[in-house]
Symmetry: C2
Subunit: 408 residues, 2 copies
Amino acid sequence: MGLIVQKFGGTSVADADRIRNVARIITETYRRGHNVLAVLSAQGDTTDDLIAKAAQINPHASKREMDMLLSTGEQISCSLCAMAIEAMGYPVVSLTGWQAGFRTNSVYSDARIKRIDTERVLAELDKKAIVIVTGFQGINKYDDITTLGRGGSDTSAVALAAVLHADLCQIYTDVDGVFTADPRSVEGAAQLDEITYDEMLELATLGAQVLHNRSVEMAKRYGVKLEVLSSFSGKPGTKVKEVAKTMEKMHVSGVAKDKNVARLAVVGLADQPGIAFKIFSLLAKENVNVDIILQSIGRHNTKDISFTVGKQDMERTKKLLEDHVELLGFDHIDVSDQIAKISIVGAGMVHNPGVAAKMFEALYNAGININMISTSEIKVSVLVDLADADRAVQVIHDRFFSEFGTGN
Amino acid sequence: MGLIVQKFGGTSVADADRIRNVARIITETYRRGHNVLAVLSAQGDTTDDLIAKAAQINPHASKREMDMLLSTGEQISCSLCAMAIEAMGYPVVSLTGWQAGFRTNSVYSDARIKRIDTERVLAELDKKAIVIVTGFQGINKYDDITTLGRGGSDTSAVALAAVLHADLCQIYTDVDGVFTADPRSVEGAAQLDEITYDEMLELATLGAQVLHNRSVEMAKRYGVKLEVLSSFSGKPGTKVKEVAKTMEKMHVSGVAKDKNVARLAVVGLADQPGIAFKIFSLLAKENVNVDIILQSIGRHNTKDISFTVGKQDMERTKKLLEDHVELLGFDHIDVSDQIAKISIVGAGMVHNPGVAAKMFEALYNAGININMISTSEIKVSVLVDLADADRAVQVIHDRFFSEFGTGN
């Protein structure tokens, strides 16, 4: 009887029929006595269409104007969904990011939520209205429209669920839940009933693409109960929470692949303290997200630092470093975007040191070369050649999930 | 060297090339040393596309949600235009209706501007930025998005020009200016260099469709100098101001046709005082715009009241009156939308009583029947059968403009 936040992605609202389907899911939840707040993404191709329009006019448009443009996508899907709910006879109101109180910082196209002024949303919920909120967007201190970057609508939904103390935040998508690997490309991938925030976090970060890491981090921090489920199948999804009941049993929860990876190797750095600090504070200042970092000894008293960034950031990161060659003092920079990151994730891994070895063995047996390795308490990631990526996921998945059912 | 407000309609921003063209017009004005504030409509078919999307989902969607939906159209065209100006290397910022401070009443889809909080716009102009503002929209006291109804973008532009004391408000459109009749359908129609607010007002009201009456009224009230011109031809347009230099010479400035007319005849009303008041206050309360009103004596101590409304309002006006038949006491209502209103307008008319007669004579000679007549100081309107409309305009235009050049 409490508040349920439901988030619907772009494929879930792609056309009139699907919007009506979403309206049915929302109103059924409402009819069961819940307050419902739905967060919507833009319709399927809307964002791509708008980006194409912009590219035609100015391929280097400012991010401020891009956000102004792109934020219309969610406004369209939300008003259409509100109309569908009106047609079913329920009280409903759609709200833009600024109307729903989303205040963000000023990093256009990749803004962070600073606070949500919930007054308007609460007033509407008090009136027993179904509230439809545009995901992905807010306004900054200048009252300019910002967008939240990748996975922004998930973040919007979880943030609202957190500040409103919602009982549940349901992330509706086009898959049935979280799988042990991508079911579209890996044979034998199975759906998980439950998963911990930390496992989900590693999977999201690693390119499982079901939920973005920012939203999972936020859910973990504020204790928001998540459920990932399909807006099409009507089947139960995967619950994401603090302690998953299957945790002890499974060492590895899933295998993830991320093709949006580029590697930069800064070669021939002077072997002196503070050089890593200089590089990565420079990149942080320019909002370059760095993932895996590896430092190794080079020749003649130098060292090399390799790291990965998103493909879209590869060129500008290279240029940024080259512009500061005098400050940093290096010989040259090697880059490659023909790589992929494959990871296994599992909260049980920390107690089972053999897990990483098992993964490497599977790759070795398949003749797949490992470029870089990175580990954390609950994951092991390797960089492999892009051409080997799909096969790598399959052989690793087979190794962990086919031997003894899903028992690892 | 002052401030120039420029308004561009939907055809002027229909595609990438046209947006670039608009950006050129704006930046050329800016380069001549002016502050420039441009108000844009939605791109050509965007509004129609959005309306079609809504109709697919809910043909009876609330106007509140329609405004939420439709207001995205101008946001798209404005951000794209800002990008085009960025590409040309000029400082620019696009603003939505609420960002530009447009506060309106709460009549969704047909809101009236209550005030404009100019702080943000002035700050941007102070910074020497070109400011691009979405026409047609604002927000009400609930912070909900409203749209201004027909001709709304013209009104937005003139309102901004008024509060900012702009030196000139240029209305860019797809015609070269104001003509003595619609040049697309009337042979011999000629462009006017200048025209008075009052003449323009009558022409706009009467369906000349170059400028909406609301914007002309506002321009007159606040003394905003207007110029109507083409965004394509680069030719000088028509200036609209208090006293036009050609006023004394011309008796008739133009001939206008309005096909968006429906006539309702309320037949058999009791012949008692207050009946007209009752009818029209009822219609006003429901936001039905009434145009020509005619009252005549009916049979048996009754009277008939005929009036015209926009075609889109015909059915609901009929129903509204029938719902109140007990209050109003009438026999029945006749309706027709197979009519058109043809009008001649001219500030010189008031001193030349023969002008109306000349118009009737032209129609008589052409065998065109007149259904209703309405006159003001500077116009004469007649209702004719829709089938006769185009021919009526031509014969009237020929009568006034072909005899002695444009000398009437």
